[in-house]
């Protein structure tokens, strides 16, 4: 039960129920779809990128609580960040969910993202937590229109 609570923290359940920045961004200049064929999770990430800064970011789609909350929290964290800053956040987040808890993760500096520390205990859910992030990285880097984690 304690394991489960560490995965399904209040903040995750909240973002799952009430996702922030959810919907289509009409004036996006980068749009990418992320898909996990194993569970059918499918999200679209919309970015308005100007002068290397993420001016606007929204997402739409369906998926599990972990993937949806992760996408939601990601948008709140990244809005207004530069591309290098966003990539640094990607690395931090990736380390957090793939490394045994605490080892590399610096809770203090992670803010809301720290809620995802429990994911590392659930290897099968790492792909859920990182789907939106992988999509984002694809969107920042290239003009690819689809990314899949499998």
């Amino acid at each position: 039960m304690s394991d489960l609570r560490s995965l399904y923290q209040e903040i995750i359940l909240d973002h799952n129920k009430n996702p922030r920045n959810f919907g289509v961004l009409d004036d996006a200049n980068r749009v990418i779809e992320g898909y996990n064929p194993l569970c059918g999770d499918r999200y679209t990430i919309y970015l308005k990128l100007e002068d290397d800064v993420i001016q606007e970011i929204k997402f739409s789609g369906v998926g599990c609580a972990i993937s949806k909350a992760s996408a939601s929290v990601m948008t709140t964290v990244l809005k207004g960040k530069t591309v290098p800053e966003a990539e640094a956040w990607f690395e931090k987040f990736h380390a957090l969910v793939t490394h045994p808890s605490g080892e590399d993760a610096d809770g203090a500096s992670l803010g809301k993202l720290a809620a995802f520390a429990g994911v590392s205990e659930f290897p099968a859910r790492v792909k859920c937590a990182t789907l939106a992030w992988h999509s984002l990285k694809g969107a920042l880097r290239s003009s690819a229109t689809s990314v899949s984690t499998e």
Binding site: L38, G40, I66
Partner: protein, 421 residues
Amino acid sequence: MNSTTVKKGVRDATVSRFDPGTVRSDFPALSVTVKGKPLVYLDNAATTHKPASVIEAITQFYSAENSNVHRGVHHLSELATEKFEESRRKVQRFLNATESSEIIFVRGTTEGINLAAQSYGGTVLRNGDNVVISAMEHHSNIVPWQIVCDRVGASLRVIPINRKGELLQEEFERLLDERTKIVALTHISNALGTVNPVQEMIRTAHDRKIPVLIDGAQAVAHGHVDVQELDCDFYAFSSHKMFGPTGIGVLYGKKELLESMPPYQGGGDMIKSVSFSKTMYADLPHKFEAGTPHIAGAIGLGAAIDYIGELAMEEVALHERRLVQDLTDALTDLPGVQIIGTATNKAGVVSFTIDGIHPHDIGTILNEDGIAVRTGQHCAQPVMDFFGIPATARASVALYNTTKDIQDLVAGVRHVQKVFH
């Protein structure tokens, strides 16, 4: 099975010749613990566990009988060949096929259907022809037909389903025409649990001289299959879904069809003679079994058939139907839970969703309670699209499941709802 012991799994133990409580001890994997809790295994539609007798048959082969088959005069090779061919005869009796040469060993259902689609479909299908499948097929009974249809310019026609998850029989008849070259249907749906009226549908197709392939992946572990009674032209199934090893399965085909078909793969054991200019193919079944077969797998499948043969399969089917009914009743009583697939005739499978909770999360939370269910699309994406859902959680039973397993699952579902408030 001991008929006097009173066990929870059978309501009326005094008249039963089958006791799920007792058979459990035949399956070593059922006694593992998950997260410190005893395993509640309800993912049997994905794969079943293996009785000790099957594991022992494999160990025995590798430890004392191991050899290649068909081409040796030495003792081990004769022994391996004899055991391998004896397994083929066991499958023949299991399906009540006319001849053992109608039994082709393949990797599993998927390969069996690919073989039929390429070798039979690829030969008879012409530009403008069509293949009729159903809206509830597993990807393994969709994609092989798409591939061959694409190649020759044929099209796929799909029998629609209703909201209960039953095939629309009038639509089926309407889809059949003189350009229909084969019908490919699942016996039991792995996503919905629907048992299709395949015998009647085969008759309908045969009235128009159209052959029928049945995907039996979900049927063989749950009751008696008789290919002569069904009169199907092909029947495919996987060993691993009926208590046998992985990597082996069967394509049954009527002899005259198999004889008319070109080989599927080329290699050793499937030829009569080879020269660089001309190759003569071997007789059935070897024509379709190129290369060294999965010898230990075939022998293990034989042991699984022996195991099933000792049980009263009608009792097993009855027992499983009760479990499915109990689970359906209990889940229907829970607010916010929907059963996906409510056909009148169902077997083995209960798919469900919970309002506001993604199946993936259901699976993770149940796993914390030691309960194994499958979550996702179950390789049946068109079914999910039809019901407008991304995925389901699926509980599927086998002969060793008990009423306690069902109770544990229902408690688990309540727990899931609690975690999400």
